[in-house]
Symmetry: C2
Subunit: 352 residues, 2 copies
């Protein structure tokens, strides 16, 4: 079992450290950890946010644990050298098309949500976001219009096979949960969305046990705040998924508690190859001070154990340790407490 | 003063009726009202959701009061015949590029918000959404890929002049409010957004009294739930504006209370030509039963008086009547009460 760890920038490195401690404490047989550079630190050391060695290391591993990337020092670099490109490059070059972002409120944390506690309490959804297509990866550029003006442009598109494979991910996830799938698009305006909707309906024929609904993205954003309990699995494209998953995370409360998995088609000896990361960013403003909450990174390890190594028991054990720590009042600054990153890591380890 | 009234479908007609009663009660000198068909009803009567007569009527008026469009009977029509096309057609053919959507919580209604009351209470923002460009109006279609698959596609773009004019709308609005403008984009991924950001920064040089910030759209969705008090004027493109304004409306509480103005460059004798509409839809499920809240439509009249007729006094008087009715406990079904559409109209008229 080989895991590549890419701590990245800012608090990414701090939270990844605690996640690695948890991985090590689980005493998994035959575990090897290798470490690679991504993001601003990779740019500084190797001249590129996603060096070839890092990409090769990911390809030679069974799973990747990713911290976070981004640093203000890179704001004025050309687009292809900015840290975000490491994220986009890993997703596309590793074929990680299915991004799973669970959003569930931990008991006792209902008051951290921006939503009223009685609404927050009901949140238990999984956002399945397509990650290899849409306006993210289409052609783009700046051109001159007929009037001699500059115009920025980006091509949005989805092909049937791209929609089909993520639709299967969505339906399969729904089957393992509440058997409800809500597909979110903007089919009243976009041809990309109309094709998306048509293909999702087609795929639904193979999942008659899953209840399928469709929602426009503007309404979906509204419904997440109005009545989040209606959502089980939310299936959506790359751009809408980016917005809705961040929105869902704030409905839950702290972005320091939410993990994500990015999966592709590649199968290893142990399970599905995937990249796992907290959904928070590198938070340069609090970096280097031990103020970050490592729980999202630790929960990302749990998702890795489940999806890439089929170790449901160890995954559950890790999640239970985090839940127990929270129930016992273990709180970092993001949750109104004062425990350091390492102290939170200790607290989770003790409960493992 | 000539106002074209397009009631449209479902509850659109019901709420427009009450808004017209308010308009009439104001006894505006020389007021003429004309009525036109849009949406599903226009399709049924004339074979098109936006008949030429309706468009001409709008062009010959100083302002348009719009109800809502949409009916399930049209779901299987070709795209260009669906009711939404009337909305998009009016926006583009009348050059209505600036959509203003204020979101403020009415006193006593903090509990209707999905947000915690202490957050809801702080909401006082204006969303300025570009309405004539973006992926809404670019080329689009379905094509065959090199692999012989179908692919849906939509071109996203903004030119410098398109961004410049809406940026001016945003900065000017900010000047009349709290002098803070937050421009929302996705410049870390989209060239359209990068150009947007560059032009907004350029225009900012003319408004040194306004504080400009930039936010990525995923973060903006999150921040609206986390701390909505940070927003004064939010400036954004057509697609992100669609999502964020619906989200903001639910943070406020009921979508039955939010009005909008869509303004262009055309000046009439009285002010800026504009189209005014509640942001809610036609709600076919409750149509025809007197269950709709006409307050958003009535508040749209207030926006019309302000922007198209320069009648700040009458606008304020109308808004005060609605606020007074709400403070007095006047509640439709959307707010947990049982007053009918007409009874709510009566209550506002009494307080005018
Ligand atoms: C960093 C950025 C390119 C990325 C995205 O937009 O996908 C991030 O917001 C995310 O959601 O992982
Ligand atoms: C009906 C639809 C085309 C429209 C839009 O997406 O702009 C609506 O959602 C709105 O916000 O006015």
């Amino acid at each position: 079992m080989k895991i590549a760890v890419f701590p990245g920038d800012g608090i990414g490195a701090e939270v990844a450290r605690e996640a690695v401690r948890v991985l090590e404490a689980l005493n998994l047989p035959g575990l090897t950890l290798v470490e690679g550079d991504v993001g601003a630190i990779a740019y500084q050391r190797h001249g590129h946010p996603l060096p070839a060695e890092t990409l090769d290391m990911a390809k030679a591993s069974d799973a990747v644990l990713f911290g976070a990337v981004g640093d203000p020092s890179c704001d004025n670099l050309e687009r292809h050298l900015r840290p975000e490109q490491a994220v986009l490059g890993l997703r596309s070059k590793l074929g990680l098309f299915a991004n799973l972002r669970p959003a569930t409120v931990f008991q006792g944390l209902e008051d951290m949500s921006g939503l009223r506690p009685e609404l927050a309490r009901t949140i238990d959804m999984l956002i399945v976001r397509e990650l290899n297509g849409d306006v993210y990866f289409g052609d783009k550029g700046v051109r001159e219009t007929a009037d001699g003006e500059r115009e920025g442009w980006d091509m949005m598109s989805y092909s049937t096979s791209e929609v089909r494979r993520i639709a299967h991910s969505g339906f399969q996830a729904a089957r393992k949960r509440g058997s409800k799938l809500c597909s979110v698009d903007k089919a009243n305006v976009l041809e990309t969305s109309q094709l998306w909707r048509d293909v999702v309906v087609e795929v639904a024929a193979e999942y008659s046990d899953v209840e399928l609904t469709h929602m426009y993205v503007d309404n979906a954003a509204m419904q997440m705040v109005k009545d989040p309990s209606q959502f089980d699995v939310v299936l959506t494209g790359n751009l809408f998924g980016d917005i809705l998953s961040d929105l869902a995370s704030m409905c839950v409360g702290s972005i320091g508690l939410l993990a994500s998995a990015s999966l592709g088609e590649r199968q290893t000896k142990f399970g599905t190859f995937g990249l796992y990361e907290p959904i928070h960013g590198s938070a340069p403003d609090i970096a280097g001070q031990g103020l970050a909450n490592p729980m999202a990174a630790i929960l990302s390890v749990a998702m890795m154990l489940r999806h890439s190594f089929g170790m449901e028991d160890q995954a559950g054990r890790t999640e239970a340790a985090v839940a127990k720590a929270l129930a016992d009042g273990v709180r970092g600054r993001d949750l109104g407490g004062d425990l350091s990153t390492a102290a939170i890591g200790d607290a989770v380890l003790e409960r493992l």
